[in-house]
Amino acid sequence: MHIPDGFLDPKTILLCYGISVGWIAVALKRTKGKLGEKMVPLMGVMGAFIFAAQMFNFPIAGGTSGHLLGSFLAALLLGVWEGSTVMAAVVIIQCLVFQDGGLLSLGANLLNIAILGAISGLWIVKLSSLTSLSKKMFLFACGTGAWLSVVVPAAACAGELGLSGVAPWKTTLVAMTVIHALIGVVEAIITILIIVVIDKIRPDLLRISATTS
């Protein structure tokens, strides 16, 4: 999912960087305005949490294992703007420290994972919280959101590769979407299980994010 350098052409790189930098600038401004500097240490720690959460391995079919990706979880717990900013920090560190994704394709990776990952799933939960749903339905909405937060970025990734003329549009889109539809199911299950626990121990943390953002 992290696009390395060399796969995107200059126009796509510029486009993605433009969108990502603009979004993060707005997000930082909003975060600062709303909660002052208090949010910064908390957001930093939460970014580190996403990293640590990605270390937990889940056994899947055969010998393979998967891990949480966390874009949706970050958005749910912190809100869209804060969540995407935290995920942006995660993606930047993945690039600079772990070489996960390239320097020039960083803009695209930010757009896919941090921004689209945070936006794509949360609106369902927002919609569902307008009507007072049962807890089961809330969890179902969260699962769907988590699934979307994996599939939508994958489709966007295929789109960027297609735009760069690297890979044929349709095949890439279908292949990426199908693969990530499966990965998304795992993400959804893990996310629901995590939310259940948080709801049991500190339900206030879930509610704060649901109302403030």
Binding site: H2, I3, P4, D5, G6, F7, P10, I24, L28, T31, G36, E37, V40, P41, L42, M43, G44, V45, M46, G47, A48, F49, F51, A52, A53, M55, F56, F58, P59, I60, L68, T85, V90, I92, I93, C95, L96, V97, F98, Q99, G102, L103, L104, L161, G165, V166, P168, T171, T172, A175, I189, I190, L193, I194, I195, V196, V197, I198, I201, L205
Partner: protein, 248 residues
């Protein structure tokens, strides 16, 4: 803490390690950009870039084997793309055949990842951040990144502790059971992290934190470094001109 292997070689003592992080970031960006803008069929240019990278690696004294191992990160993506090109060849640009294009992409991304590894293994993360800050990246964002980096190791340790405990409690359990018992650990880790964050913030406030972090300015751009940086950029440009004129 057991995770100092992250940027294991970033505190060596070569000339590249000592150079100003701003300079290294800019040169790396320029280098990656010129790799990207190379014509996919121009093997000579790729080879020359490879020579530049190799000599930089030697000058940096980072073990080549380490860099080689780290660079294998891109393999999954390369395989993915090659699969796409295998199944469908329509819609590609007309000027190259699929094979040349694919080969070009693989070489480009490999060279670029070598540059990136070289950058991160010659620059400790804190000074990389300092460089970014001096390059006018938002201060709040830098603060966020430095907080995050500081806590990654602590939380990774905590995550490992939780996993070890879980493993010893349910040795040999089935898959679903393992999934069901691992996910709550992440929830617990989140709550602990949240509370840690609140504690850290109030501790900082009681010590007079007002939202800005003041650091010593330890980076200084020296004339010699600027010259070396310019020399590198000039070499890259010359390589580009030379191999383009050679191809025609």
């Amino acid at each position: 803490m057991q995770h100092s292997y992250l940027d294991k070689y970033s505190s060596l003592n070569s000339a590249i390690h000592k150079a100003d992080p701003r300079l290294k970031i800019l040169v790396a960006l320029f280098f990656v950009l010129s790799i990207l803008l190379t014509n996919s069929g121009s093997l000579l240019e790729f080879a020359l870039y490879g020579v530049i990278i190799a000599s930089l690696v030697i000058a940096s004294r980072v073990p080549p084997l380490f860099i080689l191992k780290r660079s294998l990160m891109i393999i999954p993506f390369v395989v993915l793309i090659s699969l796409f090109l295998l199944f469908d060849r329509t819609g590609l640009s007309a000027e190259h055949s699929g094979r040349v294009l694919f080969r070009g992409i693989v070489i480009k991304s490999y060279l670029a990842i070598l540059v990136l590894i070289l950058l991160s293994s010659t620059t400790p993360f804190p000074s990389l951040l300092q460089g970014l800050q001096r390059l006018k990246i938002s201060k709040v964002f830098i603060l966020l990144l430095s907080f995050m980096y500081r806590y990654i190791f602590i939380l990774a340790d905590e995550a490992m502790r939780l996993t070890r405990g879980k493993r010893s409690r349910e040795f040999g359990a089935g898959k679903w059971r393992q999934i069901k018992s691992t996910a709550p650990l992440i929830g617990i880790l989140f709550i602990r992290t949240y509370e840690k964050g609140e504690r850290a913030y109030s501790a900082m406030c009681s010590r007079g934190f007002d939202g800005t972090i003041r650091t010593f300015n330890t980076i200084n751009l020296r004339m010699a470094e600027i010259l070396v940086g310019f020399a590198l950029i000039t070499i890259i440009v010359l390589v580009k001109i030379f191999s383009n004129s050679h191809a025609l």
